[in-house]
Amino acid sequence: MAIHTISVLAQDNPGVLSRLAGLVSRRGYNVTSLSVGKTHRPGLSRFTLVVNGDDVSVEQIVRQLDKLIEIVEVRNLSEDKFVERWMTLIKVRAPLDVRPHVLQTAEIFRCRIIDIGEDAIVIEATGDRGKVEACLEAVRPFGVIEVASSGAVALGRTGFGARKESPVAAIQL
């Protein structure tokens, strides 16, 4: 069992999220995170799935996803080098007496403070999964009130050798 990050390029049609999520749950795949957003090409969305499974079952996910008509491209990014970011918003208790400690902890993880109130702040932690999880653990003692997480977004690395470009520009829509 290993963690795999799968990148899916799909037509931006109504129902495509439902179709993808349905396939993943129907076949019993173990999905840790799923995120979706627009790309630079109008009409195309990118889904990022993080799944836990052995190589054979992950290959099955890739192949089954690839069969969906509206899915244009599926890549298991973990087969190669890639960059990945998670973002988590953490609302943490920060009354004046401990606020400097909270801010100091957030600083260690290079978090941004994006909201501040009477006795709580919202910090934005961005990074790979390990960093975001560590940050959450570090502020937990102060009293975490709410958390919202993005799930992973990822792209294959460009590198300096022969560039393995995803032919997004070539897709006719």
Partner: protein
């Protein structure tokens, strides 16, 4: 200018549709109205499930896209079983459903069901047409996707206001499916290794699935088998892909496969599996499937290769093409000792039924003798279906039609109706009393169109397949399977204005069958068979293929 409904009719005409199965309802009145003078036939069934199975029967018998048109809500949800059935058996199908008008979608309006959402897990693709502009592309796309690649069912949901909207019609529109290719994405890098394995094999065999039929690869399969004298077993769905009268045929393999086919799979050193998804019903317990063999798995669907088994060699490509590429490597092989072993097994497990007792095998074999090779036979689902698999010698593709993957009771009668429209010839429908009653209303459709559908009821007054499991694995506790059938099938047939016959003893069989087959139009023959009869061989669920049950303790060693 034309309205959306007229566009549908025109699109169907241009797609070459000859016949459409359906039932009108509130949200498809404009569509049926537009079809009054359509150049294709419209067939009214008595239940939407009947319509969708009829379209499947048409598609399976002809290889063309079966088309079904039903109303929204219950009409649409009644097609789900047919969609799932077509999905598992890769049947080209387009199901058009009416939908409430777009402004009412999502408001729980009368006869509103989210069929677009409901259909997702059981279709190759589905469309919800929200505007008139999307309509031509959805229709053209539906037919394109249903019939190309690995065929499958496609749903097109059309709100009634889109049917009534008027606009210009341009057809065929440009198709925009960047994620779908009608061409197979081949992966043939293992070809040389496959050739090597076949060339060196001493006990090779071919396991041919339904893909042989879908890819029109029967000829290529015959070529390869004959080139190397390689024995061929088919899956249940592959029945018809290889002539069963051929000396190299082992018959069907699997849970109720022929003994020699299953034993061959246990002993073979190379198994070439083509166009099969190697389902649990075909393979039995995974570690008991082809345990001594190197497995070469060929399929056009990349996701099937490696799904249930990790083959030594996986090849992705069209069956006919790959078989032709492999044929030279087996040229001149003989495998005489291996074939003699197999022939010995065939003799050890004779299937011939007792001639003096009316039994399902006796009836099936009698009908077989009375009709020609081209005759399409359709089955319902249950014991009779497995008996037909074992005893109905099938020699041509598309002449044996059955619900394989989903195992849908109630499939057979409407599918026979659809097949009769496809072939224009008499169609034999083997049915159990249980299955037949699941869509019995379609006898009315057969009668109304005076179709030559010959329903042969193998009536054991029980839900026989489940009863067989209860006898063997549940200490003979016959929960709900021996309730009896409070129905006179002959009188029922006659009430639908078709001929009904009853056979109770073997002596009357041949003559009654002859009369039923020769009578123009539909007929039903109620054959009363012993309720205790079981289908053998049988590989118990979860057992290895070689551990099949055989009556009276074991084979007759020759």
């Amino acid at each position: 200018m034309m309205n959306g409904a007229q566009m549908v009719v025109e699109a169907l005409r241009r797609e070459g549709v000859e016949v459409l199965f359906g039932i009108p309802g509130g949200t498809v009145i404009p569509l049926f109205d537009a079809m009054v003078n359509a150049p294709f036939r419209q067939v009214l069934t008595r239940h939407e499930q009947g319509a969708v199975h009829a379209a499947e029967g048409y598609g399976r018998a002809s290889g063309k896209v079966g088309v079904c048109l039903v109303t929204s809500g219950p009409g649409a949800t009644n097609t789900l079983t047919g969609l799932a059935d077509a999905h598992l058996d890769s049947v080209p199908l387009v199901v058009i459903t009416g939908q409430v008008k777009t402004s009412l979608i999502g408001t729980d309006a009368f006869q509103e069901a989210d069929i677009f959402g409901c259909s997702m897990p059981v279709v190759k693709h589905s469309f919800l047409v929200r505007t008139l502009e999307q309509l031509p592309a959805a229709l053209a796309g539906a037919f394109h996707i249903a019939r190309t690649g690995r065929p499958g069912p496609v749903l097109v949901d059309i709100p009634v206001d889109v049917q009534n909207a008027r606009g210009e019609f341009d057809y065929p529109p440009a198709l925009n499916f960047p994620g779908y290719s009608a061409e197979v994405a081949e992966e043939l890098s293992g070809l040389d290794e496959a050739r090597r394995l076949l060339e060196r094999s001493e006990r090779p065999m071919i396991l041919a699935g339904g893909g042989i039929i879908l890819s029109d690869a029967a000829e290529a399969l015959l070529g390869l088998a004959e080139a190397g004298s390689i024995p061929v077993a088919t899956t249940f769905m592959g029945k018809g892909g290889f002539p069963e009268r051929h000396p190299l045929s082992l018959g069907t393999a699997g849970m109720h496969g022929r003994a020699q086919a299953n034993r061959a799979l246990c002993e073979a050193d190379v198994v070439l599996a083509v166009g099969t998804r190697l389902s649990d019903r075909t393979t039995g317990r995974p570690d008991g499937f082809a345990p001594k063999a190197k497995l070469i798995h060929v399929d056009m669907d990349r996701a099937e290769v490696g799904k249930t088994f990790s083959p030594q060699v996986g090849l992705v490509g069209d069956a006919a093409k790959v078989l032709s590429l492999l044929a030279p490597s087996v040229e001149g092989k003989d495998c005489r000792a291996w074939r003699e072993t197999l022939d010995g097994w065939t003799r050890s497990y004779p299937l011939e039924p007792a001639p003096d007792v009316l039994s399902a095998p006796l009836v099936i074999r009698a009908v077989r003798r009375l009709v020609d090779e081209e005759t399409v036979v359709v089955t319902e689902v249950g014991q009779h279906q497995m008996w037909a698999g074992l005893h109905w010698e099938t020699n041509r593709p598309r002449s044996f039609i059955s619900s394989g993957g989903l195992g849908t009771m109630g499939f057979g009668l409407p599918a026979a109706l659809g097949a009769a429209f496809a072939t224009g010839k008499p169609v034999v429908c083997f049915a159990g009393d249980g299955s037949l009653l699941m869509n019995i209303q379609e006898l009315e459709s057969c009668s109304r169109y005076n179709l030559p559908v010959k329903v042969i009821v193998l009536n054991n007054g029980s839900l026989g397949m489940v009863r067989q499991w209860q006898e063997l694995f549940f200490d003979e506790r016959y929960a709900q399977t021996l309730e009896g059938v409070h129905c006179d099938f002959v009188a029922l047939a006659e009430s639908f204005f078709m001929r009904g016959y009853r056979v109770k003893v073997a002596e009357e069989l041949e003559e009654t069958l002859k009369e039923a087959l020769e009578t123009p139009g539909p007929a039903l023959v109620d054959c009363v068979i012993p309720w205790r009869d079981k289908v053998f061989p049988m590989v118990p669920a979860g057992a290895a293929l070689g551990d099949f049950l055989w009556p009276d303790g074991g084979p007759t060693e020759s």
